[in-house]
Subunit: 254 residues, 2 copies
DNA sequence: ATTAATGTTCCGGGTAGCGGAACGGAATCC
DNA sequence: GGATTCCGTTCCGCTACCCGGAACATTAAT
């Protein structure tokens, strides 16, 4: 999948790579000491020390009694990306409304680098999912996005990434995907039946700006026990389409 | 305020500083070319080029027809900080409920590095405010946090940062602040009357975990025209205290 | 008191980050 | 259509500065 390069000759600024290696270790551990970081990252203690001091000095990392944490300053950066388009902030509210009205999980997803990224989410209070990345072809929202692309772009996508199997229901055949996308285009919504996780069904619709630029997709999902056929194919699609329409209208008249 | 160091001898890893100088320029501009970045940052073109290639290779920066953007990958980092404590995610929902029930702006704020940081927000769809930093003493939520500290910690805070005047109503006298904090402690909520912005009033309460650890503060604010005395001192405080209580309870029984 | 583990500081060596300049391509202008 | 301008990209020599190892400081445990 990725062009294997002989170990140790990664291009560009290696110091920056070290910085992010550290930041990712901080992200995964949440509250970690210097020596522990040296173990995780394989860097020298003095290197870790110097980098952390720089990052805390910049305010991006917080130190509290010899443990280091990701600082809130990253919010300033990430939030800019998440509100790059006004549609995204409108979508945030719609996701919340969807969650409250259906009492299921609701998300807004955008595509980046051929992957589905969770931008907004309503659901269980513990895991946030925001920022997490998933294969486009395994999610209802991802398929809604793919269906909004033209065939050539989809073909390129498949060439680059393949169609990895996540569960035994995941669509892994390019032709089956093409057919699926065609029905999505026809009926205006996408359905996911345990293709990403056993026991989970979902429905999604694409979201467009008034200028018909694709923003992403709104989706509601939940356990198969609650998401029966009638609910999935009647109520949810129209509800989602309403919300997508409201986003469009809000953008037009703001 | 900050110890002035003779130009050019900033400690630590200078390459990392360059990286963040670039990222902050990307954040402020949203879609910017290489040459434009050299102007903004004062770095050489080749340096900018090499750094950007590294960052896009890492996936943290996105390039689309010769313009560079902050990538969603930063969400993975920042969201970890924002959900470090479960209380924060619970607060997110409470902020939304507050916004819907009052039809005013609602926020959840935490303290970091002696500053108030917006972690969650309900309000106008354009500006997000999330991640933005403000002086603690100029916000209702900030004062609620300060009131939760003991006198010594507050004194240290004042020593380090002073009490900058934001509007002509901002509390700038340490003794006046001490008195204000005392009344906040007594009545259990903080009020901000145009101390941060003319025409804006706010109310806030502290938020605690079941173990009585301070998480941050919930706040509702809006124009003075709508936030009359009775509303500010009767309805809002009890509403906010209810929500703060609900957070505590949710954490206790999850 | 001793040991161990961790954060901090120092310093010499060599890597790799830097900057300047040159190249190639695309758009603009006359 | 040739000239000009403005970019992004590449190359290369220099040296700044990043790195790693080791020594030192500090704390906690036994």
């Amino acid at each position: 999948m990725n062009t294997d390069r002989t170990e140790g000759d990664e291009p560009g600024v290696s110091t920056t790579r070290k910085t992010f290696r550290l930041l990712e270790a901080l992200r995964d551990e949440d509250g970690i000491s210097i020596t522990e970081l040296t173990r995780r990252t394989g860097l020298t203690k003095s290197t870790v020390y110097r980098h952390l001091k720089t990052l805390t000095d910049l305010g991006y990392v917080i130190e509290r009694d010899d443990r280091y944490y990701i600082g809130y300053r990253f919010l300033e950066i990430s939030e800019q990306a998440r509100s790059r388009k006004t549609g995204y902030t409108v979508a945030k509210r719609k996701v919340f409304e969807l969650g409250q009205e259906t009492d299921e999980r609701a998300v807004f997803i955008a595509e980046e680098d051929d992957e589905a990224v969770y931008l907004h989410r309503y659901g269980s209070l513990s895991e946030t999912m925001i920022g997490k990345r998933r294969p486009l072809h395994s999610l209802a929202a991802g398929k809604a996005i793919l269906a909004a692309w033209d065939d050539e772009r989809v073909a390129d996508f498949v060439d680059r990434n393949g169609l990895e199997s996540i569960t035994d229901r995941t669509i892994t055949d390019p032709e089956a995907l093409a057919a699926e996308l065609e029905t999505i285009r026809e009926r205006g919504y996408a359905v996911n039946n345990q293709e990403h996780m056993d026991g989970l069904r979902g429905v999604a619709v694409p979201v467009y700006t008034p200028e018909d630029e694709l923003l992403g997709a709104l989706s509601v999902f939940g356990p198969t026990s609650r998401l029966k056929d009638e609910y999935v194919h009647e109520k949810l699609p129209s509800l989602l389409q309403d919300k997508a329409g409201e986003i469009k209208v809000t953008l037009a008249y703001r």
